[in-house]
């Protein structure tokens, strides 16, 4: 089939115009604000000028963009001053996905995202707006007639609105929030001391510090809440044949198609806010997806811990099986998990007391927290490795979260076993693996024999002579 070069639906002009406008909006606003004295007539004039310029850009870009399919390839031409022609051979097309942003939905048109393996976003072609009929014809011409959106997949799961709400409420990472609070305290103290005030211990100023901290914490929470809502609205995962399709997004619907064979590992993350609710997030570990790895990072934003195994069974049978780690660090390793956090807590307390002697009650609290965190890390550590299982499961605590990594044995990037002098004396070792693009997870203080058998089972067996 050969077609004449065709234009996109005229909604593409609006799409380009709006994008042009949002590109120049910020400089425009800054200009107006910095200008300061300019009257509202000026402001409106500038605004109008901006809109006209954007509309002109939109129309020109729409007129310059064409596509055509000949028997062998999709030819996509775009660009006003330096027209680029992208040619994608039909047999290189990996997937054709539907994209629908607010503008497309307003005009009742759809965008098509033509994906190639390994090409990255740069090499992909996105046809911003096509009428339903043009889209159907193009899909047929590309040999990807089955639109995953209309075609009933083998299995699908959506993030329900209540689950989205919980996802967003529990989105903040402690690692992000704590520095904010610390920063506020630092700032507040500097500000108060710098002003030469001696009443730092004054109740009023302490109240202010706490108020500022609470306000900033709330602001950070709201931001991460909104971020999560925008990112995970309408999250949906489908399994059809050998592919996973992930869609999400509130303003801009994003879709990505992942061949299941490219997935090296699945990470099950229980963040501190979600763990008490027995909720987890599932992440994908992929070495290479042609620059689209970031879009395919989340496999599912939120589910109950008990649902993980059935979910994997349905959507990723490649990783199905028990995720219970049954090889654990021995009891005699428990105190070793306490040493580091307790020493850190003592050092922190010493510094704190040296700076603000009145803060001494913080010391025992810090030490208790350190002990609890150490015990939790000990409880988290474990490995599952079976002769008849193509997976290896490692669980450990990482930055406050309990993380379970389910990896394909044959896809490990690196395996490390380390032993410091104390571990050598106690017959213990630390085992860690790296998968995909550098995600590492290790279990500390396991029996040396377990470490040796992990090495033996995860590597090709051999004898050096």
């Amino acid at each position: 089939m050969t077609t004449e070069p065709q234009r996109l639906h005229v909604a593409a002009a609006v799409h380009h115009a709006v994008r042009g406008l949002s590109d120049i909006a910020l400089p425009l606003i800054i200009g107006l604000v910095a200008g300061g004295r300019s009257s509202s007539v000026h402001a409106i004039g500038f605004g109008l000028l901006g809109v006209i310029a954007a509309a002109a850009i939109g129309i020109t870009r729409w007129r310059a963009t064409t596509y055509r399919v000949d028997g062998r390839a999709l030819h996509f031409r775009s660009g006003v001053f330096s027209p680029d022609e992208t040619v994608i051979p039909l047999d290189r097309i990996q997937a054709v996905d539907t994209v629908a942003g607010p503008i497309q939905r307003l005009f009742g048109v759809i965008g098509l995202h033509v994906q190639t393996p390994g090409g990255g976003e740069e090499a992909d072609v996105t046809l911003t707006a096509l009428s339903a009929r043009a889209a159907r014809e193009l899909r047929a011409a590309l040999g990807h007639a089955d639109d995953p959106a209309h075609h009933v997949p083998a299995s699908r799961r959506r993030l329900s609105p209540p689950a989205l709400l919980v996802t967003a409420l529990t989105a903040p990472q402690l690692g992000v929030l704590l520095p904010v609070v610390g920063g506020v305290f630092g700032l507040a103290q500097n500000g108060l001391l710098g002003a030469g005030e001696t009443e730092v211990k004054n109740i009023n100023s302490m109240h202010e510090v706490v108020l500022i901290a609470v306000a900033l914490l709330a602001a950070a929470w709201v931001l991460s809440f909104l971020g999560a809502v925008v990112a995970f609205s309408g999250f949906e995962v489908q399994r059809a044949g050998g592919r996973l399709r992930l869609r999400r997004g509130l303003l801009q619907r994003r879709a990505v198609s992942v061949p299941a064979g490219r997935i090296d590992a699945v990470q099950i993350v229980e963040s501190p806010l979600r763990r008490p609710l027995r909720l987890v997030t599932l992440r994908l570990e992929i070495t290479s997806l042609g620059g689209r790895e970031a879009a395919a990072r989340t496999l599912f934003p939120l589910m109950h811990r008990a649902e993980v195994e059935p979910f994997l069974e349905t959507f990723l049978p490649e990783f199905a099986g028990s995720i219970v780690v049954d090889e654990r660090p021995p009891r005699r390793a428990r105190r070793r998990y306490l040493t580091k956090p307790v020493l850190a807590a003592l050092a922190l307390s010493a510094v704190l007391i040296a700076l603000v002697p009145a803060a001494w009650p913080a010391a025992p609290v810090l030490v208790v927290l350190a002990v609890l965190s150490g015990l939790d890390a000990f409880a988290a550590g474990g490995v599952r490795l079976r002769e008849d299982d193509a997976r290896v499961v490692i669980r450990a605590r990482r930055r406050g979260s309990r993380v379970t990594l389910v990896a394909r044995r044959r896809r490990l990037q690196e395996l490390d076993v380390s032993r410091n002098p104390l571990q050598r004396r106690a017959g213990l070792a630390t085992v860690s693996i790296a998968v995909a693009r550098g995600t590492r997870l290790g279990v500390r203080h396991v029996e040396r024999t377990l470490a040796a058998s992990v090495v033996a089972r995860l590597t090709a067996s051999r004898s050096y002579t």
Binding site: S288, S418, A434, A452
Partner: protein, 161 residues
Amino acid sequence: MADRPEPDGRLAPAARALWTLEILGGGLFMVLIVFLVATPIRRHDGLAHTIATIGPWLLLAGVLVAAVVVPALRLSRWRWHLDDDELDLRHGTITEIRTIVPVARIQHVDIRRSLWAQIVGVAAVVVHTAAGTTEIPALTDAVAADVRDRLAGLIRTPDDD
């Protein structure tokens, strides 16, 4: 289950000289900075004076001792082995680390010669995977070229998945 045998390849003996140079290079620069910073502090009295007087000399002594002891320890521990399936390394000065990189995951290989390495006449083989880099820090030029060529031949073999 039998333990995996330890790797058997050693580094070039010149690795000791390389690390000595590296430690001296970095350490003496730091000592110089500390001396410069300590000079004005020495004009004060009491504890500050004592620390500023003794501190830099202690640091200098530490650097000199490290330049002798650390390379010897490191060299005695370093072992490597490459076969068709894996690159197997054992290294570390105090903590002993065993690193195993499957050859199938290696994306490309570099030979790197830093200024110090050129002076003592050794080369490092740097192996890149999606997850990061791993290196054999000091081999003679001939061995390094051999390792690179063997790896290049192995990673050209198509992956089974």
